[in-house]
Amino acid sequence: MNKMNKFRKYSMIPMLAAAVLLTGCEKEEDEIPEEEHDHEVFTDVKLIFTNTQDSSDVVEALAQDPDYEGVEELTVLDSINLDADKTYTLTFEILNVHEEEHEEEEGEEEEEHEDEHAEDIGAEIAEEDDEHQFFFAFSNDAFSNPLGDGNIDNAADAINYNDSDDNGNPVGLSTSWETSSSSLSGGYFTVRLQHQPGVKTASSGANDGDSDFDLTFVLNIE
């Protein structure tokens, strides 16, 4: 008698539980993933060589990622054409351009991105300068100062860093270069930005940590 009621009562529990299970905490049916922008990336890396004697004498070379998160990589678009026997300061413009127009610009050559939509990664690197260092490699003796072929193969090799982090270690957002007097055609100039959190020391090299980018430009000196 009572028992039968009890059966009914208990049998209701799983049914109710099932109903709750199936309908409970249902989400919006048609949610769209939020727009996501990668702030950690470089879409544009521009090398800016400024003549120390004449600030209007500027040589630029650009590498760009044509398809943002797509399969295409940072592509070197320009070669570096420097004058012989001059002193340059090398600085960078490192941007993450992710405004909507970016995709449409693909193919159109060298059209400038609107800077207000771009994020300046260079500033971020300057903030985290104790975790970053630029390394360089170039055709042997392309420069009279520094001599040699750069410090990617051997971190102790000469590079004229103009900046340093809080620990007194070089950064490389600004470097000095004196071109050699002899001309060079079809040489190379490699810039590698290493991200070295907790790794960067006075003796850390171009293979410590991870490369944020590693770009090789054609270097001509006339």
Binding site: S11, P14, E34, F42, T43, G70, V71, D210
Partner: protein, 807 residues
């Protein structure tokens, strides 16, 4: 008196007394047969000693006695023919006597509990299958699901390092092997080989591996087979009992502890269990595998209430994992990749001192499962089962990147299941069931990853109906099944420029199977099964985009080749405008089993033809803005799998048993006339078990010695190293011959030794994996590109069981 057996589980408890004497043929055996559920005696059961043909009928108290036996070790055939005639559903008709085969090993204890003699799931009786019991599973609870079943012939595992492992059945894995956890499909981010099912084997009661196409009964994903994980069966009338266990392993300095308690009253029962595992960095014989540790916490519970007609079970389980991935698999420069693929061991910068800390790259997952099941036995001949489940799977993955504190993948997946099954009464001698199922998944990306979602948001719903029937005529059994599925999906994602894309599509498909079983000459059984199956391409296969782990993958709808044969990913194709089609499979599997007195053989051969087989193939080294990465694209082809599994066990003495096993698989891409990638190589194994009754203070001991040899995969694709890809002028398109980034590793020999003992309420074990501390790489472990597999590992475990008498 009425005794209801578990639907699929026919179990008995036997207490056996052996009176051993020195001269032969004077052994005797007595026992009592109880229903495992009710603990009531089962009367008038026939008990036959298989080897000698001797037998008897148990009395009304379920007791029996057989004397004049010549051996201490016997196989009992227990047939409850007379008894079942009136009460035992589905098991009494048309001479369909449920035989329970028990291989009884005499141990010096008065009571032997023998449980879990499986009645095969309906619709799979003619398919070759194997069950792994609790004891085997609990020998190392820190293992993954895949690792715990790897020993079976035809089963292997594919992995990404030490923590992410997926089972392979006859060359197929991932979305082609259904993982049925607690009666419902495990709803997780099942993408290829990248994610392990979030299932804690320490709470599993048994695992059944079905090696044929079982799609009719379980749904489209069972195209290549199914793995059925069953939880605590919640027996009634069990005294309060519990178990506390702990373990330690040397490689990774891992430790774990867990507990399980449970009790069964007359009408209700419950269990609770929990487990915690922490393993640090593993090491190869030569170096540390930095960031290969894991941490895992799990909890499970269940409550059952049973009345005359209703049997209600509810379960809840949670697993929370933090799985490390090898740090040495991540690079930010092409140089580093070239070096890593060419070097014998990872760069020393990625080999750090031992640590328990799991850093990026890692996967954080949480899986909740709640399930309710009601069985309504409305008559002695039929019942209805209603099952509903809800699963929430949360996954966050972290990569080595500038914003490494932000997940690169952050997904919530909700899975709802509702199933109604009717085990119908006998009609025209047909035994079978009809079922309807509803399955629904809702996947959402959580904002804040700062990257285009790897997988879009989607909602998928599936309605299914199936029918399986079998008919037994004497020693023959014929089985057939039919299923219809309607599946529709709605997808919303983001393109590279963050424009929204949408897709909507549906599939309707028919699955069928037919099988035949013959038991003959008392010791022989032959089964054959032919099944058709289909499977809709899953979200990862269609829409994968970008970085996942150390590689980039692009789904079938996310890439195309332009006029210059260059890979482009800036557009998303709609499914209906693409040439992507569902997979269709045809699998034939035959199995012959011979169980003689001292030897048994099991031989299975199969062929599996898959139309539109979807697979991931290496494309090249692509530098996205996170640095260059090995890149893979999905492709479709027709593929053929032919293989054989063979098991031969022999009694080598009273205490010694040896089992030899070999698995062979030949597979081929038929359309392009080339090999397939990531197929299991040939493996030969031998297992020697010595079961000692009494050794010093221990009441029983079991010593296992298992050598095995895995051959090199001679069917691997050609090799194009990152060096060759970047330096050479090889242009890779969909038409190019398939390649791999690294040659298949050499074959290797492994030896495993273990000793399990029992002493009063304690059970323990010491086992050694990779005894010889061999340096090796396994072809199916993706981390083989970068590092060796772990070296020697010594595992210790200790269990304490307690019981309370509260009668």
């Amino acid at each position: 008196m009425k005794i209801t057996f578990q639907l699929f589980l026919l179990g008995n408890i036997l207490s056996l007394n052996i009176f051993a004497q020195s001269d032969s043929c004077t052994f005797s055996l007595s026992g009592k047969i109880l229903d495992v559920e009710t603990k009531e005696p089962v009367p008038y059961v026939s008990v036959v000693i298989k080897e000698e043909g001797k037998g008897t009928i148990a009395n009304e108290k379920g007791e029996f006695f057989i004397n004049g036996l010549c051996s201490q070790s016997n196989t009992l055939i227990i047939s409850c023919h007379g008894y079942c005639d009136s009460v035992c559903e589905h098991n009494h008709r048309h001479g369909k006597v449920p035989h329970i085969y028990l291989r009884q090993k005499v141990v010096d204890v008065a009571t032997v509990t023998i449980k879990a003699q499986v009645n095969k799931k309906k619709g799979t009786e003619s398919i070759s299958q194997v069950t792994i019991d609790e004891k085997e599973l609990k020998s190392d609870v820190t293992r993954s699901l895949a690792l715990s079943i790897e020993d079976e012939q035809g089963v292997s595992l594919i992995s990404v390092g030490s923590n992410v492992q997926l089972p392979i059945i006859h060359g197929l894995y991932g979305n082609r092997i259904l993982i049925l956890n607690n009666g419902i499909k495990h709803g997780f981010q099942n993408w290829g080989k990248d994610h392990a099912p979030e299932i804690d084997i320490s709470s599993a009661n048994k695992i059944t591996i079905i090696k044929g196409a079982a799609g009719v009964r379980f749904g489209p994903e069972a195209l290549g087979g199914a793995i059925i994980v069953e939880p605590n069966p919640l027996y009634l009338k069990e005294d309060f009992s519990g178990e506390v266990r702990s373990g330690f392993q040397t490689n990774g300095k891992g430790y774990n502890s867990g507990f399980e308690i449970g009790q069964g009253k007359k009408k209700w029962s419950y269990f609770l269990n929990g487990n915690y595992t922490k393993i640090g960095d593993r090491n190869t014989p030569e170096y540390m595998l930095t960031n290969s540790g894991k941490e895992e916490f799990s909890f499970g519970s269940g409550v059952r209430y049973r009345t005359k007609m209703l049997d209600v079970k509810t379960y809840y389980s949670l697993i929370d994992q933090n799985l490390g991935l090898l740090r040495a698999s991540f690079f930010h420069s092409a140089n580093a990749i070239r070096q890593a693929f060419a070097a014998d061991q990872p760069d020393s910068a990625y080999i750090l001192p031992f640590s328990y800390t799991v850093n990026e790259p890692n996967q954080l997952t949480q899986h909740h499962l709640a399930k309710g099941e009601v069985k309504w036995t409305y008559s002695d001949h039929g019942n209805l089962v209603f099952r509903a489940g809800k699963q929430l799977n949360k996954r966050k993955e972290f990569d080595v990147r500038r914003n490494s504190s932000k997940p690169i993948i952050d997904l919530d997946l909700i899975t709802n299941d509702a199933q109604l099954e009717w085990n119908h009464p006998d009609r025209f001698g047909l035994d079978g069931m009809i079922g309807i199922q509803y399955f629904y998944q809702d996947n959402d990306n959580n904002p804040g990853t700062n990257t285009t979602p790897f997988i879009p948001n989607y909602n998928t719903g599936r309605y299914s109906a199936f029918l399986v029937e079998s008919k037994r005529i004497g020693e023959h059994l014929v089985e057939a099944g039919l299923r219809v599925d309607y599946e529709s999906s709605n997808v919303r994602g983001r393109e590279t420029n963050q424009d929204i894309f949408r897709d909507e599509y549906s599939f309707t498909n028919l699955t069928s199977s037919i099988g035949y079983v013959k038991n003959f000459k008392k010791s022989h059984s032959f089964r054959t099964s032919f099944g058709t199956a289909w499977r809709a391409p899953n979200m990862a296969e269609l829409f994968s985009f970008g970085q996942h782990g150390f590689k980039n993958s692009y789904g079938l709808l996310r890439y195309y080749f332009n006029d210059e044969n260059k890979l482009k990913t800036d557009q998303v194709t709609n499914l209906n405008e693409s040439n992507v089609t569902p997979e269709k499979g045809y699998k034939l599997i035959n199995e012959l089993k011979i169980n003689n007195k001292l030897q048994s053989h099991s031989f299975a051969v199969y062929s599996h033809y898959l139309f539109n087989f979807i697979y991931l193939r290496p494309y090249g080294l692509i530098g996205t803005f996170r640095g260059p990465q090995p890149t893979f694209i999905f492709d479709q082809t027709d593929a053929l799998f032919l293989g054989a599994d063979y098991d031969w066990s022999a009694e080598l003495g009273n205490y010694l048993e040896g089992t030899f096993g070999i698995s062979y698989l030949w597979s081929r891409n038929i359309t392009d006339k080339e090999t397939l990638i990531n197929q299991p190589p040939v493996t030969v194994s031998y297992k020697l078990i010595w079961q000692q009754r009494k050794l010093w203070k221990f009441s029983s001991s079991r010593i296992l010695l298992k050598p095995f040899y895995r051959f090199e995969q001679f069917q691997a694709p050609r090799t194009l190293t990152p060096e060759q890809l970047t330096e050479g002028d090889e242009v890779i398109t969909l038409e190019s011959e398939i390649f791999d980034f690294k040659a298949a590793p050499e074959g290797y020999f492994m030896l495993r030794v273990s000793w399990e003992w029992e002493w009063n309420s304690f059970k323990g074990s010491v086992s050694v994996n990779n005894v010889l501390n061999t340096s090796y790489r396994d072809y199916l472990n993706e981390m083989r590109y970068f590092a060796d597999a772990p070296g020697r590992n010594i595992l210790f475990s200790l269990n304490y069981k307690f019981n309370a008498n509260n009668k």
